[in-house]
Symmetry: C2
Subunit: 298 residues, 2 copies
């Protein structure tokens, strides 16, 4: 299958639904809503929403299922965007550039940026609990909310970012590096695929298989991120290249060198694809996405 075409189609669906679901910058809170919208619509790969849609498609490619999945996919993008806004803050990574544009706090100020992140995180759970995706039963909806809250929470993404801060500038080993990434990036990526499958009525076995898939593409995604940081230019990345080296961050290339890192990414992708053997051709988008993640140039 042609992954570029697939990605573009799914991204267009996500952009359309995001535009429908996101609050309009009108009324008393317009400035706050503007700051949320700025980061949400400044551009992005929409990898998590697309993985969520592909996860559902692997189980049930029907239109009603995709329609319900889109809302969950948008909530995941709200959570991902909030995490970028907070990670970029002066007190955290202090980045001025993200997705090729000035970071939220450089445009709206630090206080507004913190609140834009808080607003997006909270709004994600508003979306997940709103009744407009009739295809999802309440019990499945609850499991999805819990899965996402766990993945984004103190033992997941937020915990991972706090570990990242804790170890910044310190020489850590592979075990710690892996733990940081598993929680900081891996958890939400895995939840994206699994929650998409939940909407489509996946079995526990299918959820588990997709969990293994998610963990492995999460790992591959992070390794490639590290590689791009040393190999790509700021223009290509849309964020400052070489920032990891500058921040003295331990990365896969810094631990294993580029060659080995590249191989590790390829192996992770192979494991991800192997985990999908119980799925038929409906999982081809997931297989292609895994390949895309290691081949991507930004």
């Amino acid at each position: 299958m042609e992954i570029k075409t697939y990605l573009n189609e799914q991204r267009q669906r996500v952009e359309k639904r995001l535009a429908e679901l996101m609050l309009e910058p009108a009324g008393e809170f317009s400035r706050h809503i503007e700051s949320m919208r700025y980061s949400l619509f400044v551009g992005g790969k929409r990898i998590r929403p697309v993985l969520c849609l592909a996860g559902a498609e692997a189980i049930d490619p029907s239109e009603p299922v995709r329609n319900s999945t889109l809302t969950v996919a948008c909530a995941l993008e709200c959570i991902h965007t909030y995490s970028l806004i907070h990670d970029d803050l002066p007190a955290m990574d202090n980045d001025d550039l993200r997705r090729g544009k000035p970071t939220n706090h450089t445009v709206f100020g630090e206080a507004a940026a913190i609140l834009a992140g808080d607003g997006l995180l909270t709004y994600a759970f508003d979306l997940l609990s709103s009744p407009h995706s009739a295809k999802i039963t309440d019990s499945v909806r609850i499991r999805i909310i819990q899965t996402i809250a766990r993945a984004a929470g103190p033992l997941g993404m937020v915990g991972g970012q706090s570990l990242d801060m804790l170890y910044e500038g310190r020489q850590v080993g592979y075990e710690t590096l892996r733990r940081i990434h598993r929680s900081k990036t891996g958890a939400l990526i895995t939840a994206s695929v699994v929650c998409g499958a939940m909407v489509a009525g996946a079995s526990i076995e299918q959820e588990e298989a997709l969990g293994i898939y998610g963990n492995n593409i999460g790992l591959a995604f992070q390794i490639v991120d590290d590689l791009l940081d040393v190999e790509a230019t700021t223009e290509e990345l849309g964020k400052p290249a070489g920032s990891d080296v500058q921040a003295e961050k331990v990365t896969y290339p810094s631990l294993f060198g580029r060659e080995t890192s590249r191989t590790m990414a390829r192996e992770a992708v192979q494991e991800a694809i192997a985990a999908l053997e119980c799925f038929d051709a409906q999982a081809d988008p997931l297989r292609a996405l895994a390949q895309f993640i290691v081949d991507r140039k930004k």
Copy 2:
């Protein structure tokens, strides 16, 4: 009824359940969990959890209902605590003292404090979606999650805080002041009472009556907060007294004077109690809490 005794009993239940539900500072994320626990257990009036319990009690005072309500009450306290941590940040109100103790960022640093808030907010939705309160049906649970997400989100608490920041140091009129408080403080207080009632199986009419009650005690609570800031000492408050004047914040006393403000608070409490006329003696704790809110000395 003796409100002090009631408050102490309910607070003890809340403290006990919070201790049971909160993550332990063990394992890789212990430092992050410590920072969350610091603000959650540093002390506090637990007004929102108690209002949540009293809201449920007004409908159904049975033990199983209270048991289920306690989890919702704890989630509300996690959200309230996250909002205090973020409001105190240097980029926001820049307060060093809260609940008589150093604020989160003065103890753990700015980055860790931002993440402690993010962690508590996300964990609240983990609690709300976790299966351990069997008394709540999934559909009610979803409505509770949505009600709390709305109250805490961009059109509620977060939006209110962003308005507060936006107007800081500027002379605003009563309308704006009211809008800020209604969203920043009122929304979550109202949600606390209403969600407690939802757990107990309240009717739409009962939810609406409790909504009016909540809006009015929210208003009274804020007016008294403003009054205490000018009348009480730092020791009594456990946070810097006179901080509003210092920050040139428009408050009820600054707009209407202390006497009129005091009267407005009393009137709001009367309206709150009037809204409860369709309830029997089971709502006495709500009535007593309304009175307590204007009489409190800190």
